[in-house]
């Protein structure tokens, strides 16, 4: 464990820093690399300082935090459901969040209220799935998964309905939100707080999660109280995902792909995978957002488009090599 932990830290920590530097240095307005340190010392031109500190920095930090949260949430869901296809959204979370966000947009509310409504929608979805899967008491991961997938389908229908009845001028904003868009993110502070807390809290629980990943029977026989742990994971993953969604909208793919990539490289030890997912998710979304705002600038893309374009080839390459 120690070796892969150090390896992961040795690779991902510098890469995280590098991704943030790239996000600050690279934009649709060309700023010489030398301006970056001068912003710190206050010698940069006022315009460059504004571009970097007011536009690029909050955006890069929001993308990193949201990506990290989605990575961790995906890793937790895959442990919980013991299903390689699980991602933070598989249980209908993004659907609930999207319905909340679209309703707020339809009502003409501010972006802050849209985020709040998205969070409320995600939590509502969590409660519905929790209540229904709990049912008469008998409970399995399959039952939870099936409940979640069907609830997600219900949200999907509601989303289509809302898109169909919304005024034409609201549609572009709605579609961008559904595809994930970091351009509205302003205050990454809370998301970072949640991210740091989750990673620190998950480290001592890593051993329990490792046992649980092998199956509930083994876990129970090794003295893990399976039910409470599973529900805690579910609630935690939901809160984490909801926080990410309030920052960047329904960015797909990060939570599915990042934990799998890391498992292929570092092995399936949750004590490594959870913190590594936080960093790798952050790196992926930060780089993806940098590309989204520059690749066809001044045209701006929703970040969700780029996460998949970057993630798919990397993942397929790792999977191919691991045979």
């Amino acid at each position: 464990m120690t070796r892969s932990f150090l390896l992961a830290a040795g690779v991902l920590l510098p890469a995280s820093l590098l991704s943030l530097v790239v996000a600050l240095a690279w934009g649709s307005v060309a700023i010489p690399l030398g301006e970056l340190p001068r912003v710190l010392t206050g010698e940069a031109s006022a315009l460059h300082a504004t571009l970097i500190t007011e536009l690029r920095l909050p955006r890069a930090l929001a993308a990193f935090a949201a990506g990290g949260l989605l990575g961790v949430a995906g890793a937790l869901m895959q442990v919980l459901l013991r299903n390689p296809l699980a991602d933070p959204y598989v249980l209908g979370l993004s659907g609930g969040a999207s319905v909340g966000a679209l309703l707020a947009m339809l009502a003409g509310l501010s972006m802050f209220s849209v985020s709040a409504a998205a969070f409320a929608g995600a939590m509502l979805s969590t409660l519905i799935v929790f209540g229904l899967a709990h049912g008469t008491g008998s409970w399995t991961a399959t039952r939870l998964l099936l409940t979640g997938v069907v609830v997600a389908a219900g949200w999907g229908a509601l989303i289509s309905f809302l898109l169909a009845v919304s005024p034409t001028e609201e549609l572009p904003g709605m579609l961008y939100w559904l595809m994930g868009d970091v351009s509205h993110a302003r205050h990454p502070g809370p998301a970072w707080g949640v991210l740091v807390f989750v990673v620190l809290a998950a480290l001592p629980l890593g051993r329990t999660l490792n046992v649980l990943a092998r199956g509930p029977m083994q876990a129970a026989s090794l003295g893990v109280s399976v039910r409470p742990v599973e529900w805690s994971i579910y609630i935690a993953a939901s809160l984490i995902t909801a926080t990410a969604v309030t920052q960047v909208g329904a960015v797909g793919f990060v939570g599915l792909i990042v934990p799998h990539m890391l498992r292929l490289v570092f092995g399936n030890d949750q004590r490594v995978i959870l913190p590594a997912s936080a960093l790798a998710g952050g790196i992926l979304l930060t780089l993806a957002d940098t590309l989204a705002r520059t690749i066809i600038a001044p045209e701006q893309l929703p970040v969700g488009v780029i996460t998949a374009m970057l993630g798919v080839p990397v993942f397929l390459f790792l999977l191919y090599r691991s045979r």
Binding site: G27, S28, V29, L47, T50, L51, E54, L55, R56, S110, M111, A164, P167, T168, E169, P172, G173, Y176, S183, H184, R186, R293, A297, P298, E299, Q300, L301
Partner: protein, 305 residues
């Protein structure tokens, strides 16, 4: 005497200098107008570096003689032709905030229902002066022109253009508004099929021409329609835009329903969408074309002399 004879003309000249800008400025010498979101927009001197956040705003800025001051515009700012050479700052739904800021504009003209409000709010917080435009109807188009011209220091030309625009509309209204009503269906989009209700800008053009929108009573500004409902309403005229400025395929598509009145009378008319669907003074031209087509339809009535 010498003293006096030089002082008086000097005073007069100074007075004239003070008076001429006073037409566009308030007591402090700064310019102030109220935008369409009821915000006061104040400039110390007329705007010289303007960024336009929508194609129709670019068009209006050119119409009021401020085109050479537009240093950044969104995609599809394609009229007049010079507008195509203005550096781009993103699409109106996905603004490139970085580039807008880097242009260091002294005035940004935003489109309330098109731009993202959080992006516009951000620009304001970053210290830019933003005028938000959301013209309602023909009067709104005219008053937008006047207010934007005031900010750009082309007040006289703005007022003249606004007046000319309203005069053209008024002339059409005098000529056509009270003629025999023509029931019509206006097609904004094809898949899905969309029309407009009586609150839309296009409805005002229809009223000026003496038309009668068969779906004007619907609640939504841009209702999505079922083809059956149009066939059942059986309008005398079908008018539509298209994907381009010269693409009548949408209206021609109605020919397959050959027992519709509009098809039998050959009253399927294409109008270039940029002339009717943008809030610019060119809508007077589009309205004139619509009035002529509706008159053609009246002339094709069997009982017409």
């Amino acid at each position: 005497m010498l003293y006096r004879s030089t002082l008086l003309p000097a005073l007069l000249a100074a007075g004239a200098l003070l008076l001429s800008p006073a037409a566009n400025a308030d007591d402090n010498g700064s310019i102030s107008v109220t935008d369409d979101t009821d915000r006061e927009v104040r400039l110390d001197t007329p705007a010289e570096r303007i960024v336009s956040l929508a194609p129709h705003i670019t068009e209006v800025l050119f119409a009021i003689g401020a085109g050479d001051r537009v240093i950044g515009a969104t995609d599809h700012s394609d009229y007049p032709e010079e507008a195509s050479n203005i550096p781009r700052i993103g699409g109106y739904t996905s603004l490139d905030l970085e580039r807008i800021l880097a242009k260091e504009p002294d005035l940004v003209v935003a489109w309330d229902s098109g731009n993202s409000r959080s992006h516009v709010e951000r620009l304001r917080e970053l210290g830019l002066t933003v005028y938000t435009s959301e013209p309602r109807g023909f009067d709104g188009v005219a008053s937008s022109m006047e207010r934007m011209a005031k900010l750009a220091g082309t007040g006289d030309q703005g007022r003249a253009e606004a007046e000319r625009f309203l005069d053209e509309i008024e002339a059409l209204r005098q000529k056509y508004a009270d003629r025999e009503p023509v029931p019509l269906f206006y097609q904004v989009w094809d898949q899905p099929l969309m029309t407009v209700n009586d609150d839309h800008l296009i409805a005002e053009a229809i009223a000026v021409c003496g038309g009668e929108n068969v779906f004007g009573h619907l609640d939504r500004l841009v209702p999505r329609m079922d083809r059956e409902a149009v066939i059942e309403a059986d309008p005398e005229v079908i008018i539509g835009g298209g994907m381009g400025e010269d693409d009548p395929t949408w209206v021609e598509d109605w020919r397959q329903w050959d027992n519709m009145l509009a098809v039998r009378r050959d009253n399927l008319f294409f109008l270039p969408p940029s002339l009717l669907q943008r809030h610019t003074p060119r809508i007077a031209e589009g309205t004139a074309m619509m009035c002529e087509e509706l008159q053609n339809a009246r002339d094709r009535r069997p009982d017409s002399p």
